[in-house]
Symmetry: C2
Subunit: 139 residues, 2 copies
């Protein structure tokens, strides 16, 4: 028996309210939702982060996230949807999961992305972008 909670949910060893399933993915309700209808989409296979996912599963994850987002929005009479993945830091279960969260105006998460910071200067920002480009050229 796996010690990964989401592998156990996928295997049916731990109960969950399943909203979607196919050969490669399962989606179930988060038990501590930001709002009702907050769903977690996971690959059946154990992959820890987004970048660990093989390319074909990454494409499949994107397509299921699209379809599930519309379904969650409409099922909950919501207006928008928040999609998020915590990789490693703030990742409560080390099995990749996409949060699909129904959103409404003035639902209390408006300040969600704050506080933000600033670059000390434009040169500082330019140097930061160059660091990322350098990494990308190396891969």
């Amino acid at each position: 028996m796996s010690d990964c909670l989401f592998c156990r949910i996928v295997a049916g060893e731990v109960p969950a309210h399943v909203a979607y399933e196919d050969d490669e993915f399962v989606a179930f309700l988060d038990i501590r939702p930001l709002f009702p209808g907050h769903t977690l989409l996971v690959p059946r296979a154990h992959h820890e982060t987004l970048w660990d996912l093989p390319p074909d599963l990454a494409a499949g994850l994107a397509h299921r996230t699209q379809r599930l987002s519309v379904a969650v929005r409409d099922a909950m009479d919501a207006v928008g949807v928040f999609n998020a993945v915590n990789n490693v830091v703030s990742q409560s279960v080390p099995h990749l999961h996409v949060h699909v969260v129904p959103r409404r105006p003035k639902d209390g998460l408006k300040g969600f992305f704050w506080p933000r910071t600033k670059y000390a200067s434009d040169d500082d920002a330019a140097a930061t972008a160059e660091r990322i480009r350098t990494r990308l050229r190396a891969t």
Copy 2:
């Protein structure tokens, strides 16, 4: 000239610190980052939300998000990465953009996903999952 800020950045009409670009996607630094290195990945073509994206571009978006996340993590000497999309609600620019944010333990975003709520009962959760399944069966 487009009145979409991100279309104008893609067209080179508005300056940005570009971290990545190819025929279909551009990534540039968010000017008000959660943390330095916070990057926005956008399709060149104007699509407002994740579910508006054609399937081939959705797959491409997933693959670029994977690669860019690793690059941002390593370039910023970070530990994890937060990926997020705000669709409609809390979406400051109505041109799809994936946030790629470097994360470290104790970086101050630990409480990010709180406060959460609970389902009133297991029956309530079951009914919620059924509403989503019903929508999915209809599509």
